[in-house]
Amino acid sequence: MAWLVCEIVRRSGWALKLTLVTAGLIALSACGEAAQPIATEELVIVDESIAYGLDPADQWGGYYLRGAGAAEGLTRFAPDGEAVPELAESITAVDLLTWEVKLRPNVHFWSGTPVDAEAVKASLERSRRLDAEAAALLDGIRIEVIDPITLHFFTKDPNPMLPVTLANYPLVIYNAASYGEQPNPLDLQAMDLTGMFRVTSFTPRQEMVLEANNAYWGPKPQVGRIRLLQVTDSQARLLAAQDGRTHIVGYFPPEGVAELEHTEGMNIVTVPADNIVSVYLNLRSLPLGDVRVRQALSWAIDRQELVDLANEGLGQPASSWLASNPAYPDAAKQGYTRYDFALATVLLDEAGWKLDSDGIRKREGQPLTLRLLSWGIEKPVAEVLQSQWAKVGVVVEVQHSDDYGMILTRRNEGNWEALIEGWENLGDLLTIASVHFEPGGAINYGGYDDASTNALIDRLSKTFDEADRRKLLLQINTRASEMVPIIPLFARPRITAVSTQVEGFQPHPRQGEYLVTASLRIKK
């Protein structure tokens, strides 16, 4: 070997020598300052994305700041999907159109300014003004300060879901006076929130450093410092989990789970996400106007096989729209709880789509063909569906794009029969049901309009009793399973790689939004 090197150097002259010297310098510079081991008080978290800015009223700011343990709302989502008080001590319905919010006493922003009713109102009004999502959530709601710790929320119509609405990240509470009138995404000095960690340094989309807020009103954080880094690429996040210098890796790629099982010092934590990957059907299209065809397509899906092939076996098959919502365990027993190939063929026969000699179902000479749109990570799901539906004689043309604009255009033009998307089924279920199933609903892409479903949603909108609401939601779920405007497929899990050095990690269906909690601790 040494001879070979000497020979190369001897025969090559100055060109190779120069090359070797420079390569050596590069290598030396790479290893010159060896990576420092992390301090035990510092928790290093790698995630797919971190904030663009520090203003909760700026796009997604509330989401990232809440996820980092810096921001809080009047209520929050517990891991079981229920909204529970956070900065609010209680929320009670005074009458059909009024909710009373009592604030926790002695809560302060980081600056020491008290979190009183005026400050809460100012925060919500600023968010309403600057953030389209906050404006949508507070649509028709008037906020009035009653006394320093009491606010009244007046709704235009009966709104039984207000406590849930207030748990959403666009409505986190901050010191509006400190941020100013306009979006203020990069001013670290203007940041004034209530969370258990306060931001001390920030580079947009790269790094956020937080330190424990010792004046926090709740359980004191047990980690002194958190360093949150953005690593966009999923394979790089997999490597980050293996490099021994990262405590938590969010949005861990499913394809890396098997590999990480062989890595010492890291565990995989999975929890069903707050949404269900579903096929949205275009009911205006010829074959799918017939409910029997829609039902047949749903029965013809082997959901477990779909999860195994398209998502590395990670995920929970979903038989109905509400199936993965932890607050509604009965929903998992509704709808398409099994794979029933025979029933699918019977339904298609009944609908007049007969199997031809070429294995394709036809009616009046026309083949049963679906254009299935998919985007982003849903391509494998589309391909497995294509294969499964081919078995019952349905031809599927998968039209995939990584560019959502392309999908959006095709959808708006009506050039589609089916579309794969994942929408949430946890939180304000009245709104979620409404946008999915009511005519004109933002996610009712396929033009579903069913009098029975509409009546159930209308009753839900006026029902304040928790038990009655649950019954109504399960009825809506049953009806949606019968009419099949969407075909639920599976709940994609939130996967997080957590170091065995870390204790107190709390799995949450909205993991990104509730990643950092006060219970996180690094073992000594």
Partner: protein, 315 residues
């Protein structure tokens, strides 16, 4: 005086190029399917608003961003602002585009310079070596490695380097904040993948020079191979290589999406691709202008370099 006239004429033609490029990009982006308001504020992401943002609010946003105006009016307004170095405000981040681009340019430039140096070094070093040992085992080995490097997907090479130096050897940390040291691996990946093409061009040019009669005569006079290379062959053979390197540098300054994503390098490439996905028109237009200026500047520098390398060339 001649140089001044030349610079003036280049400047004038650059203005036409910039105008044409910006107009073309302006039209193409608006012809592309997908509406930025619909994508960013409407119904595309799973958020608590669930696309509830009311149509009238979306209309207001459209008006605020000037997207309700006719296309020509939008272009003229944008052009008027650009002449005052105001590239507008990003739809997505609400920050001035100039600030967004400037904040990412240093990282892009640093990566481009390092990758360029590695590329140039490898290409020139191994190109000369390969030509000097033409058809020998060293030449065959270098060309084989070059083919392997060219055929290796850049993502795979980057991933392998990250695994080797980040996970196995632990020389770099994947979860480290961005630092000067962190540039080595992405630059090495880019340099290794881009070097072989230039190397092969240099090798071919050198071999052509070596076979010319004046080289045979020089050899017959007893000049050493090193002298022949340095004084005669290389100065004549280097021009195509310089052209290629110049083009490559211009392209590197445009950012590298895959490498930036893989190494979490905060450059301009990934940012712009994300902006394209959400149709963030001001960012895309600003980016196109900036990269066009870069490419034109590099081309100008290459033209000047020609005159230094070959005194027969006059501007």
């Amino acid at each position: 005086m001649a140089l001044g006239r030349y610079l003036l004429s280049r400047l004038a033609s650059s203005l036409y190029v910039l105008l044409g490029t910006s107009l073309l990009m302006f039209i193409l982006m608006r012809l592309a399917p997908g509406d930025p308001i619909d994508i960013m504020f409407g119904r595309t992401h799973s958020g608590p608003g669930l696309g509830l943002a009311r149509e009238e609010r979306l209309g207001e946003i459209r008006e605020e961003l000037g997207l309700d105006k006719p296309l020509l009016a939008q272009y003229i307004i944008w052009l008027g602002r650009v002449t005052q170095l105001d590239f507008g405000v990003s739809f997505r981040t609400h920050r001035p585009v100039a600030v967004e681009l400037i904040s990412r340019l240093p990282a892009t430039v640093v990566l481009a310079i390092f990758a360029f140096l590695i590329q140039a070094l490898l290409a020139v070093g191994f190109g000369i070596l390969s030509a000097m040992q033409a058809n020998g085992w060293l030449d065959h080995s270098i060309r084989l490695v070059a083919i392997v490097c060219t055929a290796t997907p850049i993502f795979l090479l980057g991933l392998l380097l990250l695994y080797l130096f980040g996970v196995r050897l632990r020389w770099v940390s994947i979860s480290a904040p961005i630092s000067f040291r962190q540039v080595i691996l992405p630059a090495l990946t880019l340099g290794v993948v881009t070097a072989p093409q230039t190397m092969r061009v240099l090798r071919a040019s050198l071999l052509e020079e070596f076979s010319r009669p004046y080289m045979i005569a020089a050899r017959a006079k007893g000049l050493s191979e090193r002298t022949l290379l340095r004084r005669h062959a290389l100065p004549n053979a280097i021009l195509p290589t310089v052209t290629l390197l110049g083009l490559s540098f211009g392209s590197l300054l445009g950012g590298s999406v895959i490498i930036e994503a893989l190494f979490s390098w905060p450059g301009i490439g990934k940012y712009v691709v994300d902006s394209i996905y959400v149709r963030d028109y001001p960012v895309i237009q600003g980016y196109v202008l900036v990269t066009t200026v870069f490419v034109m500047t590099v081309n100008l520098l290459v033209d000047f370099l020609y005159t230094v390398l070959d005194p027969r060339i006059r501007l």
